[in-house]
Structures are given as structure tokens and as C-alpha cells.
Amino acid sequence: MVEALEAGFYRIFRFNPCVAVHELRMRMRGWRPFVVLLAYAAVASSAAVLAWMPLALEQHRFGPRAMEIGRSTFVALAHTQLTLILLIVPAYAAGAVTMEREKRTLEMLRATLVTPSDIVTGKLFVILAFGLVLLITSVPVASWCILLGGVAPEEIFYVYSYLFSVAFFGAALGMLYSARMRRSMGAIVAAYGTLITISVLSFIIPMIIAEALLGGVSSNPTLGVEVAFWVVLAFSAVAAWMVFLIARAVAARVLARGRRWTPTGLGLAISLGLLAVAVLASGPLVRAVSRLSITAFVILNPYAALAALMEGDIASLVVHGAPGGGHAPTGLQFELWAVATAIFLLLAVALWGGATTAFSRRHE
């Protein structure tokens, strides 16, 4: 069976799955994966029970509130799982290649016919499969939330598929640092550092923009329009720079192999162009850019995007630039799910490609 799959993979995708099979053997053997799974299930279940217990006691005193209880339990479960996934998956991935370097096994592997893509992809898929197994262990708890009420089955699908996309993103990010760096510890710190930076910036920036420009989460803006304008502009320039770098990497790989472009000149031109547009822009355009920035930044924050999927306040902030209330409406929830999941999947694919390129360059 494994042999047939192996031959099929190579014939169809030119992908040698031997590294994936090997990783699967190594990672799933012994007591370690069992302990990690057990700990994951225990922490996720405990979070759900801790969210459920006070509400259930309150219900005992003040009457039936089953739907609210079910929903709160599920929200706690989802956020706990997101934290666990962001802690476990990037760390596993960050050690995938560096461990081979540290143990001096990589050289022998590189002397064989496996390609950098076989190595990076094989390891990434196994870590992703492990992430999937972690998520699956909590499905019985999620089912219990459905039984409590207040959670629709499709909502479970939205949340779990979103969590999977974040796991993919985390694994690809960890793999990128693993391919680039020499030591596992350095790669793990870099991966966590990047995730924390993304989470903090994507939380603070939309708050500043919303507060200053759009009446924000409070009724009185505390920052002037000018300050917010420059914040938007600066981060738009950074975003433009990142888009340019990704586009350049893709173009260099697909179109102009070996040809060196001048990133500084072009990046500066894009940033100056954005500056000119912003200076010339009138109020409505600034407001539109601000709203778009809020949406982009909130969706880039794994916690905010998950909250937006399940809670109306944040969903309204993302879509309308102002807080609303209640649960996210079904239509809006689907759109948010589609956009957030697609963004993390796209980022993951870009990082995956980046990891393969980084591995090849390091060993050229």
C-alpha cells in the first residue's frame, strides 16, 4: 500500500515522499506524540469545562440559558485551541530541518536523490498532519457544545477549517526559519517572535485607526486625523513593501530565474506612489483606506479573525469599521471565514515556497 502510494506520488507529482514517510515514523513513534495529544486534549477540554461551569451554576440559579452556555463554551474551546496550535505547530516545524543539521544527518540526506522540495514538503506535511490530529482530538468536546445549543454545525466547520489554515501558516512559518537558520532554538525563537509581532501589531494598529479616524470603539476619537493618516500611510508602505518582496520572489522563480532586480528602487517608488495618493486623497478616500486597513490588520491577527468569526462586535468592526453587536450574521460569517482562511492559506503557501527556496540557497 505504502509502496504503491510512494510510486504514484513520484509518477504524478515528481515528489519523493520518503522524507514524509520517515518523518511520520519518527514523529509518531514512542510516548512523546501520545503525551502531546493527551496534554492538548486535556487543556482544550479543561478550558471548555472552565467556561461552562460558572454559566451552568448561574443557570441553576437564574433559569435556562443553554444556548449562551453552549456558545461561550465553544468560544473558549476555539480560542484555547488557537493558542495551543500556535504554540505547538510552529515549534515542531522550526526544529524540523535544524534538528537534522544539529544531528549531522542532513548531509547524508542531501547526497541522495531527494530534492529540497521533497525535504521541506515532506516534513511540512507530516507536521500539518500532526496538527490535524491535534484538532481532531477536540472534536468530541465541540460536539458537546452543539448538544448544549447556540452553536451551528457549520460554525464548527468554519472554526476548525480556520484553525487548520492557521496551523498551516504556523507550520510554514516555522519551516521557513528552520530552513534558513542553523540552530533549532534560534528558529523557534524567530517563529514565536514573528507570531507575537504579527499578533500585537495587527491588534494595536486597527485600534489606533478605528479610534482616531472612524469614531472607533469609543464615541470620541482620541488621536487626530493627521496622526492616524500617517500611521495608515506608514503601514501601507510596509504592506506594499511586503507585497513587492513576495511578488519579486515569485517573479524571480517563475519568470526571470537568476536575474537580479533592484528591490530598493522599485519598493521606494511604490511607497512614494502610495504617499502621493494619500496626500492627494480627500477625506472619503482616507476613510475608505482606513476601513480597508482595519479589515486587513484584524484578519491578519489570528485571535481577532477567530473572534470575528464567532462574535458580532468584532465582525462589524472588521466589515463596517465600527462595532456592532450579537453573533456574527450567517452571511457575514461565511465571508469572514472565506477571507480569513484564504489569507492564512495563501500566506502559508508563500512561506512554504520561501522555505524551499531558502533551503536550496543555503545548500547551493
Binding site: Y10, M26, E107, M108, L113
Partner: protein, 309 residues
């Protein structure tokens, strides 16, 4: 067949391999000797396509190491000087993994693995975990991994380094088997006598440059011409010095600091016993009679001096 044409590798300002050229024919066993940092490992890594040369080129079995690395890897078995093993992996799984990495079709793998395990005398250990093996067994396993895709060319970087005498002998016997299998072998080592038993050709490298290359028999003859003998005597030491200095096959004899007589023998190989007989017949009390241990340094120094002069 391996061919190096002006192969050069630089690391910053350091020229690790400098304009290296030699040729190893099919079926040759080539011993590659040199001190640490001489460029042996760098050369082997370039031949294994793990490092790109900065100048010159090399072909392995007719494939260019830069232009066609995949073809080179398919026909080369590479054993590094230092290597790690995967934990939590059985011996047969380790070999199966490398066989798959070399794209050996799955149905062929069990037989190949059985053969290489038998060759490396690890058949009994196939179900054991790799990290439970002794250093010598791990070395043999690494050699088994190197053979798992039945390569025509073997690049072995210090295959017996860090082993105890028994494991060293086992590896040597194994390598002798491989020589008999008509594989083209490039083997680096610090221990020249060991290589002389295995190899029909030898090359000496220092500072990235090839100092000497050629047939082992020719170089051995050159070495035998300058063999150092250490003789300890119980009486008439000064007189023995003079006696030995006048002996036909001894180039020079002098009293060492430790009281032993040190002679440079340039007679026929295997005829040193005649000196011992002569000393005993002349009434000298011979307490010990030995050849100076020929480590890499002394041999290397003598060889380079020979080339220079």
C-alpha cells in the same frame, strides 16, 4: 571513473582546494591522504555534489558534478567523516529510508537491504534501534547505507575514524570486500599502512594541493627506502653505532636521546632481520629491535621532502 580537472574551492580568502587534478579509473581503489585541513573532505564533498567548485571541474562516471548533479548522486555512495543517526529508527528502516531516497523501487528494497546487511554483518541487528548500536556498528551501518542503491563509485571520508582496533579491522575487511566487487573507491584516511593494504593508488594532499599521486607499490618502495629502525642494546652501545653505520643497507646510525640506536634503513623490504642476525653474531646484546611507528606526520614529512628534493 573519477576525473578532476583543476578543481578549486575557496572559502573567503582561504583556498581549501587548489587546482587539483587526478584521475581514478574504473575499479581503482584510491587512497586520499593528508593532514587535517588539507582539503580532502572539501574535495570529496565537491565530488558528492554537496559543494560547488569555484574553479575547474570534475566528472564522476562521465557526469559533470556541476551540470548533472542528479546523475552523479545516482551513481555515487557517499560516507561522510562525521555523521549522526536518527533516533527511534530500526536498522532496516534506516536502510529502507535511504533506499527510497535513492528512488530504489519498493519491491526491490527488501532483497537489497538483506544483501547489504549481510555484507556489513548486521543481519542479526536489523530489528534493533539504530541509536542502540555501538560506534563500530553505526559505522558499518553508514557503509551499508552508502551501498544500498548499489553505486558504482564510493566516496568514503575517513570510514574508520574514531574506531577501536577491532572495529577498525572489521571496517578494513569490509572495504577489502568492496574492492573485490570492482567498485571505484576514493577513500580518505590518516593511516597510510591501512590504505596501502586496500588501495592500488594513492594521492597525498597538503594545503589544498596535490603533493604526490601514483601507484601504491611505487610509493611504498619509496617509503621502504627510508625506513627508521630503533634498536636497544644491553652493552657496547657506542660500538654498535659504528658497526651499524658501516653496515651496507644502513644509510646512517646515531645514538638517540633515550639511549637507543636510531638507523635509517634503505635495504630491501623484509630484509631487516639480517641486521638483527649480524648484531647477535657480533656479540651485541639486543634487547629490542623495531621499526619506528609510521604515523601520517612522519610519512607525510618524508614524502614531501622527497618530492621537494
Amino acid at each position: 571513473m573519477i576525473e578532476l580537472r583543476g578543481l578549486t574551492k575557496r572559502f573567503g580568502n582561504l583556498v581549501a582546494v587548489n587546482d587539483l587534478s587526478f584521475r581514478i579509473e574504473r575499479g581503482d581503489a584510491f587512497g586520499f591522504v593528508g593532514p587535517n585541513g588539507a582539503g580532502k573532505t572539501t574535495t570529496i564533498k565537491m565530488l558528492a555534489t554537496l559543494l560547488s567548485p569555484d574553479g575547474g571541474g570534475a566528472n564522476v562516471n562521465g557526469h559533470d558534478v556541476v551540470k548533472d548533479p542528479e546523475a552523479v548522486r545516482a551513481c555515487v555512495g557517499y560516507m561522510p567523516d562525521f555523521f549522526g543517526v536518527y533516533d527511534d529508527m530500526k536498522v532496516w528502516e534506516y536502510l529502507d529510508f535511504f533506499a527510497a531516497a535513492y528512488r530504489v523501487p519498493a519491491p526491490k528494497r527488501p532483497d537489497l537491504i538483506r544483501d547489504v546487511l549481510e555484507l556489513t554483518d548486521l543481519s542479526e541487528r536489523s530489528e534493533e534501534y539504530v541509536d542502540a548500536l555501538s560506534r563500530g556498528m553505526k559505522q558499518r551501518l553508514c557503509l551499508a547505507k552508502t551501498l544500498v542503491h548499489d553505486p558504482e563509485v564510493l566516496l568514503l571520508d575517513e570510514p574508520a575514524s574514531g574506531l577501536d582496533p577491532r572495529a577498525r579491522i572489521e571496517i578494513r575487511e569490509l572495504l577489502q570486500e568492496l574492492v573485490k566487487m570492482d567498485k571505484t573507491i576514493l577513500i580518505s584516511s590518516h593511516i597510510l599502512p591501512e590504505l596501502s593494504e586496500l588501495c592500488n593508488k594513492i594521492g597525498i594532499i597538503e594545503g589544498g594541493k596535490l603533493v604526490l599521486a601514483g601507484d601504491v607499490k611505487e610509493i611504498s618502495a619509496q617509503l621502504a627506502g627510508g625506513l627508521r629502525l630503533i634498536i636497544r642494546l644491553g652493552n657496547r652501545i657506542e660500538e654498535a653505532c659504528g658497526f651499524l653505520a658501516d653496515y651496507p643497507s644502513i644509510a646512517s646510525a646515531q645514538l638517540g636521546e633515550d639511549g637507543a640506536v636510531e638507523c635509517v634503513y634503505n635495504g630491501a623490504e623484509g630484509d631487516q632481520h639480517s641486521i638483527l642476525t649480524a648484531l647477535v653474531q657480533a656479540g651485541f646484546q639486543v634487547q629490542s629491535f623495531s621499526e619506528e611507528a609510521t604515523n601520517l606526520e612522519t610519512l607525510y614529512m618524508r614524502l614531501t621532502r622527497g618530492v621537494g628534493s
